[in-house]
């Protein structure tokens, strides 16, 4: 237990340093993107004096280190400034838009794990036979097309030609749900509104599947490859020699050691979905943070860019810490090496 706490402490420390680095990097990059944010914010008809006034209000007329110090000072008070895109505090925007993206990404991640891993196990278990070939073809198809292509294909198939699923939004217009967590699936359950819950699930299925498809392919391919390697290990041969059932060998002896590399990639995929979700969000008119992030970058909305990137980076780091802890939990060698190191 002490070793895991030590690992957690070290990861948190590293994450904090990474966050500072990310904030400095994005702060600098956001300011070299072409275009004057004040001019863009005030619109094409703004006068030079108005632009200068806004530049002064945004501290854009000061040096970069002074601007960064000002940003850190505001951040320490939980103030990310005002978005020039929505004219609201960036924190208000993040609180409003983040749950929609997290809900989508969590479900997509769940689908990725629940479908990708079993497909990988199936392919490895029947290596060289038709289930293996089928899984490999499916995996190749899903990996080779990005999420937004799947989004459009799924929309055409299951909303346009076969109108089985809704096309846009998070819930049907007729439902009014009081916002508690911002996660509609949870809020509808808390409200005890079964019809609204059904509607929220109905709306999220297509975007979540579209977002998860490439991850499913990757998880399946990786799990298969790792399990095929594991099947060559002597202890698996011994299990066969003892006459254990193939399914038991696959489940109990081959899968667990193969899971560790897959878990790392799944963790990365999961976090990457936060960024990749924007096109899927755009296709399904999903009002999430990823779509907001792209819009603010295009408008050079400096405060909103910083806020969005920091939140996505933070989520990325949290997911990585969780994955590291899971791996440490699954692999005793890592726990022991951590303990020895500490």
């Amino acid at each position: 237990m002490a070793s895991v706490i030590g690992l957690l402490f070290r990861r948190l420390l590293i994450s904090f340093i990474v966050l500072i680095g990310v904030s400095m990097l994005i702060f600098a990059i956001a300011r070299v993107i072409p275009g004057d944010p004040a001019r863009i914010a005030l619109g094409p008809n703004a006068k030079a004096e108005q632009i200068e006034q806004l530049r002064a209000e945004m501290h854009l007329d000061e040096s970069l280190p002074v601007q960064y110090a000002q940003f850190l000072s505001d951040l320490s008070r939980g103030d990310l400034g005002t978005s020039l895109y929505t004219n609201r505090p960036v924190t208000t925007d993040i609180v409003q838009f983040l749950p929609a993206t997290l809900e989508l990404v969590f479900l997509a991640g769940l689908i990725m794990v629940l479908v990708g891993l079993p497909l990988g196990i199936l392919a490895a278990r029947y290596q060289g036979r038709w289930p293996d070939h089928l899984v490999r073809i499916l995996a190749l198809l899903t990996v080779s097309a990005p999420g937004f292509v799947w989004a459009v294909i799924l929309m055409l198939l299951f909303a346009f030609y076969l109108p089985l699923f809704p096309i846009a939004g998070r819930i049907a217009d007729i439902h009014e749900v009081q916002r508690i967590t911002g996660f509609l699936i949870i809020d509808t359950l808390l409200a005890g509104n079964v019809a609204a819950f059904g509607s929220a699930i109905h709306h999220i299925i297509l975007p979540a599947v579209a977002l998860s498809l490439s991850g499913i392919g990757q998880a399946a391919r990786l799990t298969r490859a790792n399990m095929v390697e594991t099947y060559k290990k002597p202890y698996i041969e011994m299990a066969h020699a003892y006459g254990f059932f193939p399914n038991r060998i696959a489940r109990s002896y081959a899968f667990k050691p193969s899971l560790i590399p897959s878990l790392t990639i799944i963790g990365l995929d999961f976090a990457a979905m936060l960024g990749n979700a924007f096109l899927v969000e755009a296709v399904f008119a999903w009002p999430g943070l990823s779509r907001y992030g792209v819009a603010v970058i295009l408008r050079k909305d400096l405060n909103a860019i910083m806020g969005t990137v920091l939140i996505i980076a933070l989520t990325f780091l949290i997911v990585n810490i969780i994955v590291d802890l899971l791996i440490a939990f699954l692999n005793p060698r890592i726990r022991y090496s951590t303990r020895e190191a500490s």
Binding site: P34, G35, T86, R88, D93
Partner: protein, 520 residues
């Protein structure tokens, strides 16, 4: 149960059964990424739709013709620099407060203080409440289009804003809530998802029953999404920003096409400070070599509807000073060659930069058309893709401004002054509207005359002379008069966007929901 109770119950049930049940009608439309609800910050199309429905203005454009009619006002009079408006006394805000002259003064001062959106229209204006129903505007100098500008001064409920906000101007409050007299109130507003508006019971003109009960204005829908939604009957009016091929596909599926025109044009703007376009003959050569007919064909939706009509000159048809609609611009290669021969530069040395805005893919096609047209004249050109942000920065210096920039420009008040002054007056160079960097004394004179003319005839004369002068010195290739096209389901009738006699001639005002009719 007594006999009386039984009878009463039967009667109640019978009356309930015999009462017709009217289903709520919902209109669903979409626009670009974000809708700005604060009327003082409104500038683009989505903002205008919100503004014209949640708020009202003292005057509105006359439907189907030029000029303006009183709206929140009952009448007005002017001596050139002073305008006095008498207000209606029966107008209530959605909060229940009565609208008075103090609200008009507050709205103007608020707009000036925030300095955003179209506030530049009211820079040198002061307002004073003479009584509850009389307000006087004093202008620093006579400005004939002032009445037209008032269509961009929505009246805000001062008492309601102050009661709900700690700040004087209530910026945060009005970014999320409505405080107007409009026919529709804001039910909810998510700037990235949608704004939901519902009919106001207290609207001073009343809202017909056939108008939609609820309107959902959705933001940032993808073209594929809109197409699917309309096909499934889950959307009513698509934004004008759909690619032409999607509008064509929707029209083929039976969607009606709504249009809005007379407010602007598409221009190819030539940098008059950069060789060889600092020579008027060279500019005239290019403008005569351009294939106007093909350009208009490129934006056609079908045989009957197009996203533009052939230009007849520098001023769009329908505005003061415009040439007749049938006097269309046409390609003339012989004249182009004549002008090229008269140009002081050698055509073999030309390398014309033709830019296009990265966010508007259609402009790449026009750039290619120009390149092909100019090649026929023996002129080399280079196509340059510029993101909007970079373009806006580059045009602030003449040496960085490309030879040719492509732009849609609109008259934000419907008056030609707001279209032409910013483009061509020598005091306004270096903005996105004026990459020509034109400095011409006669043009300045005509533009100023258009502002100070005492009556409509004087303005017509000033703008006619301006049009002729702009054709003569060709700072711009006048591509086509713009027409916005909206694909719509057949569940809704929109006279202001389908019947020229009902059109407002102001961007976004055709989307006055109170004038629409839901048929299902």
């Amino acid at each position: 149960m007594t006999r009386k109770t039984t009878l009463a119950t039967v009667l109640c049930v019978a009356s309930l059964l015999s009462t017709p049940i009217f289903a709520e009608t919902v209109l669903r439309i979409d626009e670009v990424a974000v809708g700005e609800l604060d009327p003082a910050k409104a500038s683009d199309y989505a903002d205008s739709i919100l503004m014209f429905n949640v708020y009202d203005t003292l005057v509105i454009p006359q439907q189907g013709g030029p000029g303006h009619v009183a709206h929140l006002a009952t009448s007005w009079e002017s001596d050139g620099a002073t305008y006095t408006f008498e207000l209606r006394d029966d107008v209530k805000f959605q909060s229940g407060n009565s609208m008075t002259a103090a609200d008009v003064v507050y709205s103007l001062e608020r707009m000036q203080a925030l300095g955003a959106g179209l506030s530049y229209l009211f820079t040198d204006v002061k307002a004073e409440a003479k009584s509850d129903t009389s307000v006087q505007f004093t202008l620093a100098q006579p400005y004939a289009p002032f009445v037209a500008s008032l269509v961009r001064l929505p009246i805000v409920d001062m008492a309601f804003v102050k009661a709900n906000s700690e700040s004087e101007w209530g910026e945060e409050f009005l970014s999320a809530n409505g405080a107007g007299t409009g026919a529709y109130g804001v039910k909810s507003h998510n700037p990235q998802e949608e704004t939901v508006m519902t009919k106001s019971d207290s609207y001073f003109l009343g809202v017909p029953d056939v108008a939609p009960d609820t309107v959902r204005l959705r933001y940032g829908l993808e073209a594929a999404t809109v197409r699917t939604l309309i096909s499934q009957g889950e959307h009513d009016i698509a934004s004008q920003w759909l690619p032409p091929e999607v509008i064509q596909a929707l029209a083929k599926d039976g969607a009606q096409l709504l249009t809005e025109s007379g407010t602007g044009a598409f221009y190819f703007k030539m940098n008059t400070t950069k060789a060889p376009l600092d020579d008027v003959n060279c500019r005239l050569a290019l403008s005569h070599a351009f294939d106007y007919g093909t350009a208009v064909q490129m934006i056609a939706i079908n045989d009957e509807v197009s996203a533009g009509s052939p230009a007849s000159g520098a001023i769009p048809v329908g505005m003061y000073g415009a040439n007749p609609a049938d006097a269309v611009m046409a390609r003339d290669m012989d004249k182009a060659k004549e002008y090229l021969d008269a140009c002081k530069y050698d055509a073999a040395d030309f390398n014309i930069e033709v830019s296009w805005i990265a966010e508007v893919p259609l402009e790449e096609r026009f750039a290619l058309l120009m390149q092909s047209n100019f090649t026929e004249l023996g002129i080399k050109s280079e196509i340059k893709k510029l993101p909007w942000a970079l373009f806006a920065e580059q045009v602030s210096k003449p040496e960085n401004t490309p030879h040719i920039s492509q732009l849609f420009v609109n008259a934000v008040t419907g008056d030609p002054d707001t279209l032409l002054y910013g483009m061509y007056h020598s005091s306004t160079p270096g903005t996105w509207q004026s990459p020509e960097y034109l400095s011409d004394a006669k043009v300045d004179e005509f533009l100023d005359a258009g502002r100070s003319a005492a009556d409509d005839a004087g303005r017509e004369e000033a703008y006619k002379a301006l049009n002729a002068r702009l054709m003569e010195i060709a700072p711009t290739i006048y591509g086509f008069d713009r027409q916005s096209v909206f694909a719509a389901s057949n569940r809704v009738k929109v006279p202001a966007l389908s019947d020229a006699s009902q059109a407002f001639g102001l961007d976004g005002m055709g989307f006055s929901f109170r004038l629409m009719e839901m048929t299902e």
